[in-house]
Symmetry: D2
Subunit: 368 residues, 4 copies
Amino acid sequence: MSHNSFGHLFRFTTWGESHGPAIGCVVDGCPPGLALTEADIQPFLDRRRPGQSKFVTQRQEPDQVRILSGTFEGFTTGTPIALQIDNTDQRSRDYGEIKDRFRPGHADLTYDLKYGIRDYRGGGRSSARETAMRVAAGAVARRVLGAGVTIRGALVQVGADRIDRANWDWSAVDDNAFFCPDRVAAARWEQALLEARKSGSSLGAVIEVVAEGAPPGLGAPIYGKLDADIAAALMGINAVKGVEIGDGFEAASLNGEANADEMRMRPDGTVAFLSNHAGGILGGISTGQPIIARFAVKPTSSILTPRRAVDRHGQEVEVLTKGRHDPCVGIRAVPVGEAMLALVLADHLLRHRAQNPDAPRVARLPRN
Amino acid sequence: MSHNSFGHLFRFTTWGESHGPAIGCVVDGCPPGLALTEADIQPFLDRRRPGQSKFVTQRQEPDQVRILSGTFEGFTTGTPIALQIDNTDQRSRDYGEIKDRFRPGHADLTYDLKYGIRDYRGGGRSSARETAMRVAAGAVARRVLGAGVTIRGALVQVGADRIDRANWDWSAVDDNAFFCPDRVAAARWEQALLEARKSGSSLGAVIEVVAEGAPPGLGAPIYGKLDADIAAALMGINAVKGVEIGDGFEAASLNGEANADEMRMRPDGTVAFLSNHAGGILGGISTGQPIIARFAVKPTSSILTPRRAVDRHGQEVEVLTKGRHDPCVGIRAVPVGEAMLALVLADHLLRHRAQNPDAPRVARLPRN
Amino acid sequence: MSHNSFGHLFRFTTWGESHGPAIGCVVDGCPPGLALTEADIQPFLDRRRPGQSKFVTQRQEPDQVRILSGTFEGFTTGTPIALQIDNTDQRSRDYGEIKDRFRPGHADLTYDLKYGIRDYRGGGRSSARETAMRVAAGAVARRVLGAGVTIRGALVQVGADRIDRANWDWSAVDDNAFFCPDRVAAARWEQALLEARKSGSSLGAVIEVVAEGAPPGLGAPIYGKLDADIAAALMGINAVKGVEIGDGFEAASLNGEANADEMRMRPDGTVAFLSNHAGGILGGISTGQPIIARFAVKPTSSILTPRRAVDRHGQEVEVLTKGRHDPCVGIRAVPVGEAMLALVLADHLLRHRAQNPDAPRVARLPRN
Amino acid sequence: MSHNSFGHLFRFTTWGESHGPAIGCVVDGCPPGLALTEADIQPFLDRRRPGQSKFVTQRQEPDQVRILSGTFEGFTTGTPIALQIDNTDQRSRDYGEIKDRFRPGHADLTYDLKYGIRDYRGGGRSSARETAMRVAAGAVARRVLGAGVTIRGALVQVGADRIDRANWDWSAVDDNAFFCPDRVAAARWEQALLEARKSGSSLGAVIEVVAEGAPPGLGAPIYGKLDADIAAALMGINAVKGVEIGDGFEAASLNGEANADEMRMRPDGTVAFLSNHAGGILGGISTGQPIIARFAVKPTSSILTPRRAVDRHGQEVEVLTKGRHDPCVGIRAVPVGEAMLALVLADHLLRHRAQNPDAPRVARLPRN
């Protein structure tokens, strides 16, 4: 019941503050014999790295990961994998103004009320910098899932502007600064974000993550349901305020005929669903269809407009946040959301095979 | 890491199938010395009980709870509290038709793919009947939270029809069959649900749950955030497909100025927020404001219209579901949602005071 | 992190007090498809049952177990298995004398200091009656381990009188009232225990439990070592004060040459150890050899000689314990110790195959 | 349920191999506001450090600990504390001989059977080097327990030679190379260990650890009993084969009159026990008396005498272990045992106050 650990059998624990010497994590429970070097992890960190466009924070961090344990001659050994990234751009500055003030929308006040002390430099532990370790751990999770499982994410809404799903093109995602699968929307967002940035404001966003190729049977009802664990995983990402599976809130507006996914048999004996309103999960267990989740990210709370706030001494103050910030934190949440989905699936894969070692890897009928 | 347990320090484990002899739960970690008898639990079960209106299942269950351990002379002792409800209306019937068929939108297929065997009678373990034990455990959680914390829920949307929040009246909630806080909407829903029932169809719904009076400081970042645990708790309720905290998905459409809740000081030295977009949680930790969450429930999958499906033998079949079903399972999810929120908060109250025994019970500044 | 749960993947949670209406447990994580009815569990409970000889408590309890969930048509379904035993001989009596007094050697004082309240009737939650549920859960664990794993226990010491290991005969164990594998010692013990009983005194004991046929690879270093978990499992049995693996404390007196078990190859490619000082565990992981553990049980604290004690009000009193007690609680600890060993192994079997699904079931070399 | 984590609320996770770049741990759940710098941890590491006498391994490691997170301006913040020690004396050598051979008494074979791969350099993950992180985490645990709780350990037996308890003098413990509280025995052991070292042999040992000042009420029955958790903690130390609480195995030889600790009242209203056979624990809960545990350490398996063994290819070989080894690994286990006891107590202190915030810190009667 560790506060800073996630998962059960495949489990990672993160540590570190924004402006400490380093951040890191320990990945425990990883199966042995998987090929793993820094080169398998770094590309995912590079996708999340700050400073890559004008739409994200200008903090310059190479985010170079090192593996300190748990592998031998390029393979996992089954022992804990320690990953570490040095903090190199903890810009030396005067924190006199920020250290006693509770910025609206930030965790400053709540950390202080809970702990009575906090490392205020760069947000300390509550900084989104921590999510780098989720991405690193997520890269290991992908190894556990294997090449048959593909996990991808995309930004599907910025502010109130949604993509046109008819334009969805996965290959577009890496062609723009927003992980946007709709090239038309990407152009619009560029304008909107330039404006937000110029005015010192910020915008929210919605991210969609999809796992294809995951076997059926993942999820442990009643209190380890796959969708419940995905919900916790995504809601726990910084600034997230909502999570959906499949049709999500739209499902409330459907009637029973429209919502339930019908089934037919494929010639190869596997089940074909005729739709995927369920987002690949029924009764908390994966069906073998693509697993689809979305999460909403609030607009960055650090803005240039002065806001009414209070300080540690109970004084009323005005706060405006200078410094390096993402005008839309949702953008860099895309690789983080992918990582969290991978981490949930890897954990459930291990849980599932512990209890059900003979369960099929595809939705084949008859099962026996 | 039990599949059927929820919570960490205040923790409950449920067992039982829809048509077995009984269902039950074990509540562990409850503080000693709290007044607790069946009379403290039964009213909450009565709110959730089937058969109370024509808009819910006609199954007739008194749902009479018994306390089998963990109390002595009317007070909790700190030892595990076993709660049990006998199943009395497991209607004897012929399951010949259903036992081999996988109903669309149900967990039949996934349980079978995962376990290779299932108790198909009434949905077995995946039946919403299990939620009775959540409500029972939730009543104990309310004791732990104490009289200062109020947890209430309401139905805020049926199908695509939302309440008018200007009409919100908590006292209306128990005056209609839908836990609806808007008397005007309640009248519309009555019509809509009568139609759905008559046509053998079903509707989805959205529920809002609110906790008032919870202390600041609840929530254990990074991987025990209060909102993440609430998300898991609500997403794990049968048929739920989406969860929001505070403004939820709407937050994505706001800019930073509109979203972050500003603060002023109250004369008594506590912090006053000028709005509550955050839903009472910042950085995964409660602020002391009301904690607000919503969840979307899909329409009941059991409907009278024939749907295409498959059976255990890999044959394509048509399924229509006779029998006793809720035309809108979202209705009875209201007390279940309240219970889950209470259970999360009780667990976090214990976690919080374990690590931070001297933290204040209100958002008073200066803290020290 | 439940106080009343044991195990991780194969996990059980017990509840109930000595004089409440019933005791029970929930076994979670059991693999599906295992044949299981009450008849598979009852024989183990019968071995532990009170009232079977003059050397154990005269409480008369049929200890008839019922399965309330988790099986269907005689097979486990993968859902939680609820087991329950009604308390039928909670002898009605006057507790006036005992209810405020803290009996020496009992948990009365510590429960009171911890919880401020306790069910004093028959020892309440701290009664050894709880161990019946361990035995019941242990019977399920044996199913998980399968027919290839044999778990047996024996009493090897009563008071200071040890068996002669040269006389060890497993078939003798069920021929005497003491689970003694040495018929000669059994005769001596009969005399010693008759005397202890007559004088209202009590004797301690040492139990040995052995698992044969368990695969190599069980145990999760560093903090889920097999021997560490066995130690916790056995030390947690009522009245246990010491636990050993293999040579145990004797190992301290050996030199390195004598202690380390040498190895040779068997013709079938498996490793043969030439001795088993290690008790089947190296580095916290099973070797494939028999797993051997011993535990020491203190003499029953309920004796007829008056002892100096205190009461709830801080008054000094004298206590002597009338009523039904085992003159040597170690005797009935034999089936309990077997059960705990089975429970640890079943949990580790699942943990092991989750992480290492391709590990061999026997110590065959080369592994790959 | 992490394999490499220990504890529940106060919890640490270790990582690292003997010959990797570093070893480390993450301490999670630590209360905020405790003074903590490297200087609070280093002295405990120095006591365990290799190379300090001719009776322990000649590996030269400064074991300099660094705090990488979780403190701010010299105080804990409630966020995870990352501790790290660089490995500086991973002597470059040829592992050709050892890499395929399974040394008797070592974890070589079992790691290989479990994982199919292992870092054989210096024992890899199974090296006692990992215990340095236990000692580091234990220093943090001592801070949590506070100055009122004293935890000390001593070596009470080397080979078959026990101390004379009448000679016990805590001040002697740091005056000899063995942590021996009996100066007379220390002199004898020096001779015995010089001989063992000269002949390339090794000796076992027994360690006693004592916690004074711990409050009553620690321990969570039934499956989080304090003695069960201590047993797991100590049995999980490398090379340990037995654990006792209080009188331990000797308790089996006592009768009920001799074993149960009688009680009287002190003038200050606290309970005075007239003896401490129980080792400070009744019913799995601390009494407020000193908590006493002992554990047996087997002789070092690395010896100069050739032993029969096998290799990865299934070939029979002879193994003799050159290199740097402790002739009695039990010596350096003393600070490790102290640390494990501190870690168990700190975890239980938090667990206890979560459930029982109003429980007294001393055994005062009447409680209410």
